[in-house]
Structures are given as C-alpha cells and as structure tokens.
Symmetry: D3
C-alpha cells in the first residue's frame, strides 16, 4: 500500500505553521491526506470559514508553495459528535494511511486508544503560528497577514471574510 | 407577490421591544411573518419556553394590541446547526418575503451574504427592552412584568414559568 | 382553558376532504390547531411541497372559505423519527388541546397509548378526497383540480409544482 | 405492576454517593432502574467515560456491594437534545416505573411538569461525594480513590483513564 | 479479561430461537452481552416494540429459563445510520468482548471487515423461529405464541401489543 | 473567477460513463469539481462503497486517464436529508462554480429552482454505462469489469468489494 500520512485539523484558517507541517510530512511519506475537520461548521467565532472556502485556501497555498498536488488529498470530514466514533468516521472518508499527524490532544488520544501511530505535529513557533492567534489579530485589527500564506490572505479578503468575522464577534458578545 | 417582511428572533420571551418592531414592520409591509427561531429548544436558561408557549404568547399579545391577525404569520423554525444552511431553512418554512428584520448579527450577516435586503430591527431603548434583561429580572426577583405585554406575563405565570426558570438556574450553576 | 382540537396531517397537498374536516372541527371546538407534519420534508414523490408552500395553501384556502382566522393556528412540526417521541414533539410545538383529529393510524395509535381522546377524522368520500389521489392524478395528467380548493390549485401552478412533481417521478423510477 | 424506581444520572464516574442512593432506593422499591444518561458522550472533560465503561463500573460495584442483581436494571439512554422530549425518551428505553430519583434539577423539573413523583435523591455529604469532585481530584493529582468504590478505581486504572483525562484537559485549555 | 461474547439482534420480538442461541453462547463464554440494536425504533411494522419493552421481555424470559443473570448484560444500542461506524458504536456501549454472534449478514460483514471473530449464530429451525415469522403470524391471526417464551407472549398482551401492530399494518398499507 | 463546473453523483462505483462526462466537462470548463454525494453512506446494496474508497477510485482513474489533477477537485458531501437544503449544502462544501452537471433528476430540479444553469450530463450509452448496471452484474456474476476503468475494478477487488456486496444482498433479501 502507498505510504500515506493523514494530517487532521480545522484550518480556520490555514496558516504558515500548517504549511510547515505539510512540508515535513511530505518529506516522510509518499502521500499526504489533509483532513478538514468540523467541515460542516462555519460562521462561528472560532470557525469562521466554510469547508469550500478552506479547501480553496489550502489547495491554492499548496500550489503556490510548489507542492506536487498529485501526492496530496484534501478531504473535508464532518463531525460525528460522538467522540468514540471519530476515528471510524475519518477511516470512512479517506484512503488508507499509516500515521496520524495532529496537534489537537483529543484527536491524538482517540487515535492512540485505537492503536494508531500518532505524531503530535508540533508547529514551528507554536505560540505565534496558530489559528487562534490569526483570528485574534483579525478581531483586533493587528497584522494577521504575516501569519498566513499570501494566497490565503487574498482569499479571505475576496470572500469579505473580515466583515463576516466582525459580525460574528458581535454575536458572541450577546447572549448566544 | 404580496409584499411580506420576515421578523426573525427567538422570543424568549416576547417583550414590548418586539411588539414595537412588529408594529413598525406592519406599517412598511403588507404582511408580516414572525419566525420563532430555535423552535426545538426549551428548558434552557437562555431559552426557557417551548415553541408552543411562545406561539401562544405572541398570538395573544398581537390580538390584545389590536393587530390584524390575517396580515400575520407566526411560524416556528428549528435550528439546522449548520449556519450556512440557515437561510435556506427559513425559506423552506415560510411563504415568500422581500425583506428580513432581525437584531441578531449572525442572522443578518447570513442573509446579507445571500443577497437579501436586511433591516437590523433596532428596539426602542434596546438596553431595557431585551429578552436577556427580562430573564435576568425574573432570576433576580425584580420587576420584569413591565417589560412584556400583560398577556405574556399572564401566560408565564399560568404555565408556572417562574418555577421552571428557578430550576434551570440551579442546573446552570452546576457542571452542565 | 380554551377548548382546542388539533388536526394532524401532512397536507401534501391540502384538499377538499381536509377542508371538510376543518369545518367539522370548528363546529365542535372553540379553536383549531392544524399541525403540518413532516414539515422538514419536500421534493419527494409522496411529499412534494415545502412547509412554507403548505402553510400558504392552507391559510389561503381557509380565508377563501370564510373561516375565521383568529380561531385557527397553522403550525409546522418536523419529524423526530423516534415514533415514541412523536406525541411529546407535538405538545412541544402547539398550545394546549383536548382532542386529536387524524386519519393516520400510527398517529392515532400513539396518542391513544398516551391516553388522549382521538377522533379518526374520516373524510367525506375518502377514496376520492385523498392526497394520494391528488398526486396520482397530477402524475397521470388527470383532473386533480376538482379535488382541491381553487386557491390551492392556483398556488401549485404559481410555484411550478407540476414541473417539480414530474422531476420527482423520474427520480423515483430509478434506483433511489 | 412491579414497584420500580428509576435513578437517573450520568455517573462520570459512579461514586460512593451514588452507591448510597442505590441502597436507599432498593430499601424503598422492589426494583431499581439505573439510567445512564448522555450515554453517547465520552472523552469530554466533564464526561470522560463511555457508556460501556460506565456500565462495567456500575455492575461491578453493585456486585461487590452485595446487591441483588436480579432486582437491578442498568440502561444507557442517549440524549435527545430537545429537553421537552427527555421524559418520553426515558420511558421509551426502560420498563415501567413509579418514582424518579435524580439530583439534576432540570431532569427533576421535566418529570414534575409531566406529573411524575420525583425524589431529589440527595447524596450523603454532597459537597464531597460528587462526580465533579472526583474528576477535579484526578486532574489535580489528589486522592480521588477514596470517593469511589474500589472496583471503580480499578477499572479507571485498567482502561488507562487517568491518561485519557489528562489529554482531555489539554484540549479544554485551548480554543474548543 | 473476562471471556465475553456479544449477541446482536433487534429482538422484535425475542423468540425461542434467540433463547436457544443465548444458551449456546453461555456454554461457550463466561459472560454474554445481548445488544438490542435499533434501540430507538418502535411502532413500525418490522419493529413494533420499544427498547424498554424488549429489555423487559428478554430479562423476564432469561430468568424464567433459569439463566444466571449475573453472567448476562442486556444493553440497548441506537443506530448510527452510518454503517461504517456501527462497530465502533457497539464498542462504545458495551464492556469488552472477544466474539460476535449475529445472524444479520451486514452486522457480520462489518465486524469481519474490522477483524473480529464472528459466529453467524444459526437458529434451530431458522425458517420457523424467526421474528419475521412471529410478526406475520400476529398480523394473520395465526398461532404465534408457540414461537416465543411464555413470558414474552404475556408481556405482548399486557402492553396491548396486538392492537398496536394492527394499527401499524393499516399505516403501512397506505402511502407511507 | 475561475470558470468551474460541478459534477454531482454518488459514484457507486465510478464507471466509464462518468469518465466520459468528466472529459466533456473539462473541455468546456477551466476546472471540474466532482461532488461525491451521500458521502456518509456505504455498505448498502445501492451504495456499497465508502467515501474514502470512492475518492481513491476516482483519483486513480483520472490519473490513469491522463487527466490533469490540478484542474480537478474531488469533494465528498454528506446528505442533509432535507432536500430543500441540498443546494446550500453543496455550496457550503465546494469552491465557487458556474454550471451544474448531474443526471439525477431531483438534483437537477433543485438547482433549477435556485436559478442555476444545469446540464443533465447524459452518459454515452446510458442503459449500459450506469452504476445500477455495474452493481447488478456484480450481483449476478456477469462481466462488470468492462463497464469501469481498470483501476476501479482493481480497487474493488483489493478491498474485497465483491464479498461485501454478496453480504449486502443477503441482508436485503430479508426484512430490512
């Protein structure tokens, strides 16, 4: 079987830390499967972008970075909300793989409990390159563009993403 | 087509600020559709009342206010939990309309993204006339009756709503 | 409490047999609640119309028939898919009632098991005035208009319903 | 009918306070039904254990305490997420009963609204014997074993539960 | 670990063929887990009984047959509707097991694909002892009691099950 | 915006008729999005393969056919079960597109009702090149390999797909 690694995240949005992990996995594996988790969710303060928007961001960023697309899979996977089924849900949606990369502790734990080989996928300069940091900088009007590939910041602007996030933060300030 | 406006809220409970918006919409439109959002939810601290109870409150209040019922529609709509589908969900449940009224920023944003005409439906004296304020006054034993139409306060008492809300607040104080 | 009867059906579409039952209930009860069941379903061969379209058909037909709208409630209720919860689901969505009218045997049975008073709501000339008969005549290009109130046939034409139903029947002929 | 009491909880995990209530109910009733609520949930900080693990803990603890298993039922019941349907959901899953025991205020309230006899099931030394306290002590590396039956602490260790809970707490510290 | 076998079925209703399998498994294993599949479903022509009713039937029948209850687990498990997750769903709900017994080909296949040891659990005189046969005899007014343990036929009569099934068959004859 | 066409199907399995449509769309559009509908479903007689298996089949077949992968997107989309939301669901999951290709009449109808440009995507020799025909030939032990790309038949054999389908047909012969 082809030696594949699966990289699981929500990519809200895809940033340079993610790109760094992608490149490392491709140096270790023949192929890479990027699983876009919580694919059904968007328009939330911690999850502003749709699956379609995230797929577009990732594919565009990989192409621009010169990554060979024929070695990559980008697959959105919806939540099942029953954590114990999460591993099977991913297996349901993707081709066979031999190693899991994720920096989400629960995802790591669930795969470990099922006996998989798990790599915690640490980001280079984790406290800066994180999606939470990107979203916070957008909310605060700070320089978020430096944290993401240029194609990602372009797409966020094209889809009027900053305006959307401002509406979301107003919602969260109220009683929801 | 009949010129209809749709007013979207959770109405937990329906208060005088809502009634004020209803009257304004009826002065601008031929007909008004009131969408009771999150219709499946009740018995939560931010959402104490069932759809059936909310429909009863609204219809009774409109009648008492002398509003022509044949120009009004009151329609409960359950959440879909996938925000991107919320606009289609509402279209699924209601007759055709030409303008959306809501003071919930996410709802406004979603309709704007789909190209609808949106009115933010500001309440008269927003900081007082809000459902959050009504619920807080009930929890604190303050004068909440002055914020809602008399028929609404009567129904809340008839269904033993104060007692229910006291049980809910005890739940929320614990680990749920 | 107001003496209310609840009439439960799918109303795909609302026909003269339904109207006949509505008039009978209003002669027995102070108020009538029409529950539009399976409200979330549309675009199926047995369920072609959306909740919004069905609400529009029913309200228009009642008005044309000179029925006092202030005595009527028209409330869409989505399925729960767990039959044992169906009675609670309806109670969740509607104001209090004292009798149930339905010609769907399962609905009748579920309410009987919960101790409600149930009227099987027989239609006048049941074999002709049935929604199945209306849909079959549409599929076969026969005279279906005579079975429904004029306002209903007008709405079906306005929303291009005949064309929709033709697409549905093609789908059902295949492997779905 | 057999005189049965139903004891509703999440049992995350089952502790000595629960065991105390079980013994009291069995002194009042012929049979006891233990409902494991939120049965579908696990691997969350407030709900670390699966239904299967919780059933195992409870049955083992009851046996060790010398309780007659033929008088007991242990039944997992998944959430419906529509609170108004919760009472029917439990009726759906268990044999007939005449009294409800629970120290969860919302569950008590829902059964009271449906006309059931409800016992608030107070624990002996509530502030110590609580599942929240057990979980907190595990997170803080304090003595949690003294709060649970010995068989429960053994099972938690066998399934590597401490390690799992440490992964969960790391997840909760981030933006989920 | 305790040597457990899991017996998966819908038990609509539990009949003598099932009892026969139960006894065989208990002769091969230390403990038996009976999984009541499709636990959320009832009031359908192929699934007339609720989980609560089925649990009651099975426990009563096992007791009457002199089976040691402390060696048995009876656990209702709701469907997930995503077949690929069915194996994980069962693992989620039950204590550890080493062999699967089922005469449902899809269930067998799913466990085989996950690498489990599967026993097809053939019934003694399969064409007679089947739940389909029991239900058909009830619908046709034939002798169904001889196919089920006496305690099961007693419970079906106590809950007015025959009347319920007659209502269901009328529903199925119509357009549902 | 890039000129994209979206091709919607279930691809159970992907056959030469599909490949033919793919080539036609790529001659008309800059990019092609293949939507794998009902992505959550597998192990059913009409839907034997998982999303992961179908993605693998399609990508492998396109590569073998010499199609430029950088112009293609393969995106699994789960059902929403509320037909009226299906168009929004697809928009949620994919990058922007200007034309829809599908030979499923309901999908075509839903997009037409939302104002999209729809191409019915007729297959070359439809009565032979259909997924139903492929599955029937597999069930009947006839020559199905000639209907699918060689890489697809290889994958079906690798995953033991024939054996799985035989188990499914036995299930369907019974009361499910």
């Amino acid at each position: 079987m082809t030696k594949r690694g699966v990289f699981i995240g929500r990519f809200q949005p895809f940033h340079k830390g993610h790109l760094n992990v992608v490149e490392r996995i491709l140096s270790e594996m023949e192929e890479l499967i990027i699983v876009i988790g919580s694919s059904q969710i968007s328009h939330r303060i911690t999850d502003p972008f749709t699956a379609g928007e995230r797929i577009l961001m990732i594919k565009t960023a990989l192409k621009k970075a010169g990554i060979e697309m024929s070695r990559c899979w980008i697959i959105p996977v919806p939540d099942v909300n029953i954590h114990k089924l999460w591993v099977s849900q991913i297996i349901n949606y993707v081709p066979g793989f031999i190693r899991v990369y994720s920096n989400e502790p629960l995802t790591c734990r669930l795969f470990i409990e099922e006996g998989f080989e798990v790599d915690p996928a640490p980001f280079y300069e984790r406290e800066i390159y994180s999606a939470t940091e990107v979203r916070n900088r957008i909310f605060n009007g700070e320089n978020w563009e430096e944290l993401v590939p240029e194609s990602v910041s372009q797409i966020i602007k094209d889809i009027d993403g900053i305006e959307r996030m401002r509406a979301l933060i107003k919602t969260d300030k109220r009683s929801i």
